[in-house]
Structure formats: structure tokens, C-alpha cells
């Protein structure tokens, strides 16, 4: 399908991945540091070839800064061996990442945050996606990215957990979707 595109990108990523990336090499702040106990600063989903599938920013961040963070995260996380620690240090943040099939879920936390709980947050999000899409795979998230965002917005808000019950999130999504359909002017066939 898009193999050559992916492999071309892959080669570019590989070249960059060859470099040794020191864990805290560059200094740069994401946003004016707010003195707060926020859970998450950002959440990124990217594929093993380094393609971004979802980005959620919980602090105001400029486009340039976002691009830089995404690049740095991809360079930090992709070369990690399996069965290594899921936690990294990057600048003044803790990075928590987990790989699910072909997707990396990567979150940036504040200094005081609980990394183990962040792993649970990532896991919960995957479960929610799985329930919604039914055996979710990367393609689901690519072709229905807006739904992935809507689900995220029912689970997290302002960098904090919004709803701790799986069922409640699913119910909200179903009901909101129903609302959407009645306003659709035509029924679209699912196809990809």
C-alpha cells in the first residue's frame, strides 16, 4: 500500500535514531511553568515508523515547540529495547511510554507525578479505544482519528483524569454519537 513511503520515512528515522540521544541534552521549556500538580503535559501516539497518530497538548504550546517535542519523543522512545524500563527523564519532565502492538503511547508528566499511575492511565485509554472500536488496531485510529480524540476528551481533561469508570465513558460516547447521527444528512458506509 504505502510501503515505500513508510520505508522512506523509516530510513530517515533510522538515520536519526543512529545518533546517541542523551536523555537531557537540550534545554527548552514547553510553556511558562505553572506551579501546579497537573497530571499530564502532553499525550502522543506514534507508530513504529515515527508517524504521529494523535497529539494532545495540555499546556499552551506553540507549533514550533510541538514539532520539537514530537521529534525528541520519537527519537527517545523508538530506539528503546523491549523489556526495558517504561520511564525516562527528559529535561524537567518524566516521560512514560508503552507500546501496544504497532503504536507507542507516550505521555509527559510533571516532576511530582506518579509514573505507575500514568501507565494505568495509558492502559485505560487503550481499553477505552478497544471497547469502542472493537479490537482496535492502528488503522482504526488513523481512519477515525476524530473519534479517538472524542474518547480521549471523555476520559481526560486539562491533563487530569475526568472519569474513572470505563462504562461511564463508553455510555457517554455512545450517546454523543447518537446525537451526531440524527443530524447527519446521509448515512455513510464504513469503509477502509
Amino acid at each position: 500500500m504505502a510501503k515505500s513511503l513508510q520505508s522512506c520515512f523509516f530510513n530517515q528515522v533510522i538515520d536519526r535514531v543512529q545518533q546517541q540521544v542523551e536523555e537531557s541534552q537540550f534545554y527548552f521549556t514547553l510553556a511558562p511553568r505553572e506551579n501546579s500538580v497537573k497530571e499530564l503535559r502532553f499525550l502522543l501516539l506514534f507508530s513504529r515508523q515515527g508517524k504521529l497518530r494523535l497529539q494532545k497538548w495540555f499546556v499552551p504550546t506553540s507549533d514550533r515547540e510541538r514539532k520539537k517535542v514530537i521529534r525528541d519523543m520519537i527519537m527517545l522512545v523508538l530506539p528503546r529495547q523491549p523489556r526495558t524500563c517504561n520511564f525516562l527523564r527528559w529535561k524537567d519532565l518524566k516521560i512514560v511510554y508503552k507500546r501496544y502492538a504497532s503504536l507507542y503511547f507516550c505521555a509527559g508528566l510533571e516532576e511530582q507525578d506518579n509514573e505507575l499511575l500514568a501507565l494505568e492511565v495509558l492502559h485505560r485509554y487503550v481499553e477505552l479505544l478497544d471497547k469502542y472500536f472493537g479490537n482496535v488496531c492502528e488503522l482504526d485510529i488513523i481512519f477515525n482519528f476524530e473519534k479517538a480524540y472524542f474518547i480521549l476528551d471523555e476520559f481526560l481533561m486539562g491533563g487530569e483524569v475526568l472519569e474513572t469508570s470505563k462504562f461511564a465513558v463508553n455510555v457517554s460516547m455512545e450517546q454523543a454519537d447518537t446525537l451526531q447521527e440524527t443530524m447527519e444528512e446521509y448515512m455513510s458506509k464504513p469503509a477502509y
Binding site: 505507575l116 476524530e146 481533561m157 446521509y186 469503509a191
Partner: protein
């Protein structure tokens, strides 16, 4: 769910592009179409268009022309359009964009919408990118929603309030009453939001924190309910009931209990209960335990509870899961200063973690191990650290090496151990040590006079084995230059002596000089050492001269300069004796260290050439021997400081076979001359000229009389007291 066909068709088209160039082409076409669509009147496909644009944006392409479309969509009465419009606002707009102001009104309207999902969109967007003005504008509305009867809205309003408080600190006051009442909610989502809000309010204002301290019993109640309650399918995660809520409550308790005895007491039992009852087989249970430990260590907890917490961390260290081990070490690092003894108990496990496969774990283990080094465990810890150094990942080498040096300096049980340790580090990780290691080591060796023989033997052997580690080679060359005579003697107390000839030693130095692995600095050291040996050896002076003169035409300017100047030195051979004689270093060169780096401190730059130095030397400190009897020599040098001021330096040395103690000097001068004796450097003169004694005498001769000085020498040698007097009639250089 109805996926958008136009969106998916576009995604498919983009993905099927074979090259980056092709993809760009597809995207350009699509963007042009989208832009055209934006300009058209409503055709029912607006939400699909915006969604397409958002996809393109996620791929990294510019999408700012969609900002106004977001504003329009948000104002639309259709839910599907609002939904995508708000999503677009969150992705494309931030508070810095002007367009974000335009959506304030829509948000305000939607907050009072009859449909909770529309309200929720507005709340979510406000919490994501609401600017300070928007927050100020809409805060009363949010407070109203906090009191609504709808849990779905309440929980969202709570987190929206959190965002408002972060943006505009003063608005916190507004939310205090509602936050308080939300604690009696049963709905976990609302409860969670309430706890987060209260945490935020307490963090912002100490007065608010005081007021919320009263809620500690309520929070304890809620926690107890979660911990003891039976299985609740809604909130259960691997046997733990609502871990997210538990962790947030624990964090709030931490903030409330900090620095407050009463509050800490009230939560003591609960914390013990959570610590003991929580199932630690899965990550989720450990997440709760971890938060509990952090809370216990931060509040004014009982010592028993504290020990329990540290023990939990100790258990974490033994966990199979790397993440847990990493967490444990990070936490132990934080308390290693305050609860040092408690952490020391787990030292063995921590040191074992140095051997872990994972680089993150290794790094933490290294930091923690270095923090745990103390006088009592230095030997065993250093063994482990040196083993670690030989196999550690390259990015940790520099940190490990400098940590080892610091620890060695602070806790070295003996000088020999200290030198051995430094040499070991230089052999294993010579390329990763800091620049000042070389002069520091040279200083250490110089000061450890009893080990000169041992050190030069060790370094000579190291040099024979490997000349690739530059710092080691530099120190070795310097040492051989300094103490080469001890090497040639062929006997050593501390270690097995080598039987070498002068040629062997010069061979070793020549190999360094000629090796392609040696840096220019190293070559400089080797050349200087070769030169220095000309005073310590007797047979091969010609060979030295020929080595040095070869470098007179070396391509490296620095080496060339040295070689040429050293060659000239041979003319002033007797002065070379002064320069290169071991003991004179300490006296003169401490002051003139920047003129000549014969001390071997490789970073120091030779700025003056030797002939010039000689002039300076002659001009500044001419020496004359004023007393020589029974192996005791006293030399005198003087320096004119001002019109009438003069500094006289007396230097004593002992070339007999036995040590001299109680050495004192007294001086007398003509009446009109003022005299001030400074404290002598020592009162012992070791045998065989081991070290010299210096004493400074400051004179003031305002009448410019003819200067004379009587010096009385007094010392004890082999049990008997010797006293003598000498008169100095002429001072050199005056």
C-alpha cells in the same frame, strides 16, 4: 458510528502516495479543495472538510486557514459540526491566536445549552485552551454548573474550574464553597474532580489550605470506603477499587498533612491500612502503594509508619518489574539524606541493581550508590563501583568516574588506596575523566612523598601495558620524569621493583612520543619528562639530547618550541639542576607555575621561553649558600620589594642519613633595619634531602644602611642538639 467517507477517502489517497513528493502533491490538491469548500455556502459537508484539514494538520502541514472555519462551525446549531469545530479549536487555536477570542461568545452560549453534550464540548474546550480573559469572563458560569444536579456536567465543570484557577489564581476564592460541598458526592467522577480542584486550591493559597484541613476526616472516610469495599465492577482495576481516585486522595492528604501534626495524626491509621492491605502483585496496586509511601514520607508520620514506608520501597527494589525498581530508587534518592540509615539497609540490593540490563535503572542505581558511600563502607562500595565502571554504558562513564573520584577524595582509608583507585579509574575509563584529574592526581602524588617509589613503579608498568588512555599516560610520563631515579634504583618497599636500565625508561618515553595515539599535550609531557631525566640519569644524556633535538623540527609548534628551548637549557646545565631538582619545585614553582609547566600540569601553557625564564629567575631569586656543615645546608635568596623593603627567603636542607627535628632559625640585623620573621614551613628536615624547609624574613631598611644579617641555626639530630651561627655580609642581587 458513521465514519466520514470523504475523510476516509482522502486518508486513503494520502497513504497510497509512494513518495514524500507525491504525498505533498495530494495534500496540496486536497487543501485547495478544502479552501474552496470553506468559501462555499453550507452544503452539509462542512464537518467533513474540517476533519480533513485536521488530519492534514496532524501530518505536519500548515492549517491556519482553517481557524475561522472552526469559529463558524462552533457557532453552528448542528452537533456534528460543533463537535468537529471544537476539536479544531483545541487543535489549531491557542490563547495566543486572535481567533480564539471569537469563540468566547459561542462557548458562553453553549455552556447554557439544553443538551449536556453540547455543554460538555464547551467545558472541554475552555479547559483545554481558555485564555485568562475567557476564564475571568466565564468563571461565574462554571461555578453555577458546579452546583447543577447533573453529575456529568459537574465533573467536567470541576476540572474546568481547575484550569481557571491555574490561569487566574485569584478566582480560586470563588470555587471554594462549591468544592467543599462536592466532597459529599457519591459519583466517582465528580469526587475525583472535586479532589483535584481542592488540591489545586490548596496549592495556590495557604489560607485555603488551612480551611480545607478540616476535610481530612471526610477524605479518610472516603479512602477507607474504597479500600475496604467489596468488588465494584464500575471502578475495579485488577482488584483495586478506583486507583485513580485513591491516588488523588492520597496526594491531597499529603498536602494537608505536611507540617501539621494534627492532620498527620488523623490520617496515620488510614495510611497504615492502605500500605498493608493493597495488593502489590500488579502495577496498579503498586501505584497506590507508591503514592502512599510518598505521602508517609512527606507528612509528620510516626516513626513506625516511616519504617513501613521505607520497607515498601525496599520490597519494590526486589520486584521483578523494572519499572517498580526504577521507582523505588528514585524515591530512595529523595530520602537518602534525611533517612540515610534506613536507606543504607538496602544498600546491597541497590548495588545489585548496578548490574541491571536497563540503562535507566543503572543510572538510578549509580546515583543512589554514590549517595550511600560512607567512611565505613568505602572499600566494599568502591570495589562494586569499579566493577561497574569497567562495564557501564558509555553515557554513564563520565558521571561514574567523577562520582568515584569524589568518594575516594572524601573517604579514602589510605593514601595508597587513593592513588590505586585513581589509577584504576584512569586505566578503565581514562577517556571520560575531566581535565582537572591530571593536575589533581599529580598534586596528590607529589604530596604523598612516602609512596613516590610505589607510584612510579605502578605507573611505569601501566605505561608499558597501554598507552592509549591519555590522562594515564600524561601522569605516568610526569611521574617518570620526576621520580625516574627511584625507578632506576631497582628497589621498592611497597611493590615488586622493576629492573630497568636507563635505556628502557627512555624507550618507554620515546614510544609515547612517537605513537599516533598520543595527543599533543601527552607528547609535551613525554618530552618534558625526557628532559627532566637528564639530571637524574648519568649515562644516556646524549641520547636525551638527540631525542629532544629531533623535536626541534617537529611540525607541532608547541613541541618544537619546547624542544628548542630545552636544547638551550643544556647550555645552562647547572641551572637545569636547579630547575629539575625535585625539591626546588615546591619552593619556586608554586609561584611561577604559569611560566613553565615542568610541574606537568598539562593544561598550563608555556608562554615564556626558558631563556627568558632564566633571566627572571636570576633577576627575581638569586640564591647563595650561606651555611653548609654536617650535611645541613642553608641557602639564602632575596628579592627587592620596594625602595626599602626586602624579602629574604631562607631554605634549609638535610643531606645526612638521619632525620632532623626541631629546626629553628633566628635572625638579627643592624639596629635601624626592621625585621619580621614569618612562620617556617616546617621544623623537620627528613634525611637525604627529602624535603626542604623555607622561612621568609621581611626586612625594612629605610636608612639604606649596609645590610648584614646574623643567623642562628638550631636543630636536633640523632638525639643531640646542635647550635651554630653564621654571618651574612653580602646579599645576592643587592
Amino acid at each position: 458510528m458513521s465514519p466520514s467517507v470523504p475523510l476516509q477517502e482522502m486518508i486513503r489517497a494520502i497513504r497510497s502516495a509512494r513518495t514524500q513528493c507525491e504525498e505533498r502533491g495530494v495534500i496540496q490538491r486536497e487543501c485547495a479543495a478544502i479552501r474552496a469548500q470553506f468559501r462555499q455556502t453550507d452544503n452539509g459537508g462542512r464537518s467533513h472538510n474540517l476533519a480533513k484539514l485536521l488530519y492534514v494538520h496532524m501530518l505536519g502541514y500548515p492549517a491556519h486557514f482553517g481557524q475561522m472555519e472552526c469559529v463558524r462551525m462552533i457557532a453552528s446549531p448542528r452537533y456534528s459540526e460543533k463537535r468537529v469545530g471544537y476539536l479544531g479549536a483545541m487543535m489549531l487555536l491557542d490563547e495566543k491566536q486572535d481567533a480564539s477570542l471569537l469563540i468566547t461568545n459561542s462557548i458562553k452560549n453553549d455552556l447554557s445549552h439544553s443538551n449536556q453534550y453540547v455543554q460538555s464540548l464547551a467545558l472541554c474546550t475552555l479547559a483545554c485552551m481558555g485564555s485568562a480573559e475567557m476564564c475571568r469572563d466565564l468563571a461565574p458560569e462554571i461555578d453555577r454548573l458546579l452546583r447543577s444536579s447533573n453529575s456529568y456536567i459537574k465533573k467536567k465543570a470541576a476540572l474546568c474550574a481547575v484550569h481557571i484557577v491555574r490561569k487566574v489564581h485569584d478566582l480560586g476564592e470563588l470555587f471554594v464553597p462549591s468544592a467543599r460541598s462536592l466532597l459529599s458526592e457519591k459519583n466517582h467522577g465528580v469526587l475525583h474532580g472535586a479532589v483535584v480542584l481542592i488540591t489545586e486550591l490548596c496549592e495556590r493559597s495557604p489560607e485555603t489550605l488551612e480551611r480545607f484541613r478540616k476535610t481530612v476526616p471526610d477524605l479518610v472516610q472516603i479512602m477507607k470506603g474504597l479500600v475496604i469495599s467489596g468488588y465494584s465492577p464500575d471502578h475495579d482495576v485488577a482488584g483495586v477499587s478506583d486507583p485513580f481516585l485513591q491516588v488523588r486522595i492520597l496526594r491531597l492528604l499529603r498536602i494537608l498533612g505536611r507540617n501539621n501534626e494534627a492532620a498527620s495524626d488523623a490520617m496515620n491509621d488510614l495510611l497504615a491500612q492502605v500500605a498493608t492491605n493493597t495488593d502489590s502483585t500488579k502495577t496498579v496496586g503498586n501505584a497506590v502503594l507508591y503514592e502512599t509511601v510518598l505521602t508517609v514520607l512527606d507528612i509528620k508520620s510516626e516513626s513506625g509508619l516511616r519504617v513501613l514506608a521505607v520497607n515498601i520501597l525496599g520490597r519494590f527494589l526486589l520486584n521483578n518489574d523494572r519499572n517498580i525498581r526504577y521507582i523505588a530508587m528514585t524515591s530512595l534518592q529523595k530520602i537518602v539524606l534525611t533517612d540515610h540509615n534506613a536507606v543504607q539497609r538496602h544498600r546491597g540490593t541497590i548495588v545489585d541493581c548496578l548490574k541491571d540490563q536497563d540503562a535507566s535503572v543503572k543510572r538510578r542505581a549509580l546515583e543512589l550508590s554514590l549517595a550511600l558511600v560512607s567512611a565505613s563502607n568505602i572499600r566494599s562500595m568502591m570495589k562494586e563501583l569499579l566493577i561497574f565502571l569497567s562495564s557501564c554504558p558509555p553515557e554513564l562513564r563520565a558521571q561514574a568516574a567523577s562520582g568515584i573520584f569524589n568518594a575516594a577524595e572524601r573517604y579514602a582509608p589510605s593514601k595508597r588506596w587513593h592513588i590505586d583507585t585513581i589509577l584504576h579509574v584512569l586505566t578503565t575509563a581514562g577517556g571520560d575523566v575531566r581535565d582537572e584529574t591530571v593536575p589533581n592526581l599529580i598534586q596528590l602524588i607529589t604530596n604523598t612523598s612516602e609512596l613516590h617509589c610505589y607510584t612510579v613503579h605502578k605507573l611505569y608498568r601501566a605505561l608499558l601495558t597501554d598507552i592509549s588512555q591519555q590522562p594515564l599516560v600524561q601522569v605516568a610520563c610526569w611521574c617518570i620524569g620526576e621520580y625516574g631515579d627511584l625507578l632506576l634504583k631497582g628497589e621498592c618497599q611497597e611493590t615488586e621493583a622493576v629492573q630497568v636500565t636507563e635505556d628502557d625508561v627512555l624507550d618507554a618515553l620515546e614510544i609515547v612520543l612517537q605513537s599516533h595515539m598520543s595527543t599533543p599535550t601527552t607528547r609535551g609531557f613525554a618530552l618534558t619528562a625526557t628532559m627532566k631525566l637528564s639530571t637524574r640519569i648519568t649515562d644516556n644524556v646524549d641520547r636525551i639530547r638527540s631525542i629532544v633535538s629531533i623535536y626541534g623540527s617537529c611540525i607541532d609548534v608547541e613541541l618544537q618550541q619546547r624542544a628548542v628551548e630545552y636544547n638551550q637549557c643544556h647550555i645552562f646545565f647547572f641551572l637545569m639542576d636547579v630547575l629539575c631538582s625535585r625539591t626546588t619545585f615546591c619552593v619556586f614553582f608554586a609561584q611561577v607555575v604559569d611560566l613553565l609547566d615542568l610541574l606537568g600540569a598539562g593544561l598550563l601553557h608555556i608562554s615564556e621561553s626558558i631563556p627568558r625564564f632564566f633571566m627572571l629567575l636570576l633577576a627575581s631569586a638569586p640564591t647563595v649558600t650561606v651555611y653548609e656543615k654536617n650535611g645541613v645546608t642553608l641557602t639564602l635568596s632575596c628579592e627587592q620589594q620596594s625602595e626599602s623593603g626586602l624579602t629574604v627567603t631562607l631554605t634549609a636542607s638535610n643531606s645526612t642519613d638521619s632525620d632532623i627535628s626541631g629546626f629553628t632559625l633566628q635572625a638579627a640585623v643592624p639596629k635601624s633595619v626592621q625585621l619580621q620573621m614569618r612562620a617556617p614551613s616546617t621544623d623537620c628536615l627528613p634525611a637525604h634531602g627529602g624535603a626542604k624547609l623555607t622561612q621568609l624574613v621581611v626586612l625594612n631598611n629605610p636608612n639604606k644602611v649596609n645590610l648584614k644579617m646574623r643567623i642562628r641555626v638550631s636543630y636536633t639530630c640523632q638525639g643531640s642538639v646542635v647550635q651554630d651561627m653564621v654571618q651574612v655580609d653580602s646579599f645576592p642581587g643587592l
